[in-house]
């Protein structure tokens, strides 16, 4: 690994000051993604600022029923937390389908938001990758792209965001709290990650000197009836080919509330707004589910190796909704 200077920040103010004065510095939390990328030479920070001593490890109930999650809460602790299991079961499920138990014990909520794609050409320094080396091209376009995106992709990049947790957060309309020397900003989940366009190296709307300090979940009654369903090439410890985060409320046969997001299909967790719009007020039937899924996937475009994801996403959306309707919540 390329040598770097190490600093441990005792508080948020020191951390955000330090990142501003050290060009190319990076914050490190659990390190599960950053250490790997540093070893591969993809990330090359001159200074690593350790934030694990910061007091951002709480999971607290907010007045009104929401939940505030400190950026340093470990994935395993978040998934196991009683408030999350009871009120946002899709979030517990999403986290539990991600990575391995060892990695979930290390990885933090903030770091999960900032995970980078597992596209093999992004990791391979000898390959062309517009995300790693802007303007160098994209070897995934006509390469191994079974795991790549079908929604919101561009001619520059078809990489996917690897997180499961973020798909649930997108469905829940979570708010990401970020802090810098300029103050605190609250960023809606939908505006946190970016689509590639012709700047795939810009993955979030976070400034280089901003620190994620918390994630807030709004009070959301529909979340109590929710599920996360992940389809992958092996039964465990693999990234999603397609995943669906879904919450559904049905009253007298009519959809009265619905939240849907897709994973494994885009450079950001894909909130399925079009499907939600079609379902809200519609009869809660498989026919409605099919119509909503078809509309959501209508703009999708596949490559030879990943076009199957379009149909897979449609069917997984329908099946997850059907399961919520017939079997109820994952809580």
């Amino acid at each position: 690994m390329r040598p770097f200077a190490y600093v441990s920040a005792p508080d948020v103010a020191t951390a955000v000051r330090a990142i501003g004065t050290e060009p190319g510095a990076k914050f490190i939390g659990g390190g599960t993604n950053l250490v790997d990328l540093m070893r591969e030479g993809v990330e090359r920070p001159g200074t690593v600022i350790d934030i694990t001593a910061l007091p951002l490890t709480g999971v607290e109930e907010l007045p009104g029923g929401g939940v505030r999650i400190g950026a340093l809460v470990r994935n395993a602790h978040l998934a196991a937390h009683r408030l999350i299991r009871n009120r946002y079961p899709l979030l517990s499920q999403a986290i539990l389908t991600g990575a391995s138990a060892q990695l979930r014990n290390m990885a933090t909520a903030g770091g999960n938001l900032l995970q980078r794609t597992r596209c093999p050409y992004f990791y391979d320094g000898a390959a062309a990758c517009n995300k790693r080396e802007p303007g160098s091209g994209c070897d995934a376009m006509d390469g191994f792209n079974r795991n790549h995106g079908v929604l919101g992709v561009s001619d520059s990049c078809i990489a996917t965001h690897p997180s499961d947790m973020c798909v649930a957060l997108a469905a829940l309309d979570a708010i990401v709290e970020v802090e810098s020397v300029r103050g605190v900003r609250r960023v809606p989940m939908a505006e946190f990650h970016r689509l590639p366009g012709d700047t795939p190296h810009l993955e979030t709307t976070l400034a280089a000197d901003e620190l994620v300090t918390a994630v807030e979940l709004p009070a959301l009654p529909v979340a109590a009836t929710s599920r996360y369903r992940k389809v992958r090439d092996r039964a465990s410890y693999a990234f999603a080919l397609v995943s669906v985060a879904a919450a559904l409320e049905v009253d007298d046969g009519t959809v009265t509330a619905v939240r849907l997001a897709l994973g494994g299909v885009a450079a950001k967790p894909w909130r399925a707004y079009e499907a939600e719009r079609i379902l809200l007020g519609a009869p809660a039937t498989e026919e409605s589910f099919r119509r909503a899924a078809a509309a959501e996937l209508a703009p999708a475009t596949g490559r030879p190796q990943n076009a199957f994801k379009i149909e897979l996403a449609r069917r997984t959306l329908v099946e997850t909704l059907r399961q919520l309707l017939t079997e109820g919540s994952a809580a």
Partner: protein
Amino acid sequence: MVEIRMRVNGVSESLDVPPWVSLLDVLREHLGLTGTKRGCDQGACGACTVLVDGERINACLALAVQYTGRDITTIEGVAGGGDPHPLQTAFIRDDGFQCGYCTSGQICSAIGMLAEHGAGSASAVTEHVAATGIALSGAEIRERMSGNLCRCGAYNGIVRAIQDVAESPR
């Protein structure tokens, strides 16, 4: 160089290392504890699994400096008072290994897993994540141990060994 101090298998250790040295390298290269294995060195195989304050992690992806002040347990430290850990005995009895390279990680991981289960945590195959008193079925053990690969394919023995220990009175 940064100074790190940690307890490893109950012994206080203090050493100066560059900040990019992994916990795995500190254990193997600096402290001579070679029971913890280096497999993939990228968090994919679980051979390097150790316990930090009782929780299992991948030592290969851990910068040692971030674990200063912590209590580390490796395979060398799981046995108590000269007797093997019940999981070590069960792995031998139930053929939980062939070449043995993944075994240290499997056993440390299983110790962490049983503690997580004992604390009531759910898994990706738990039907209802909000449930309490989740039974540790074969499917639950497989899912909860999926971070530990065994290239010999001794999985049936591994699952049996863990199930034996989970079901025996402690």
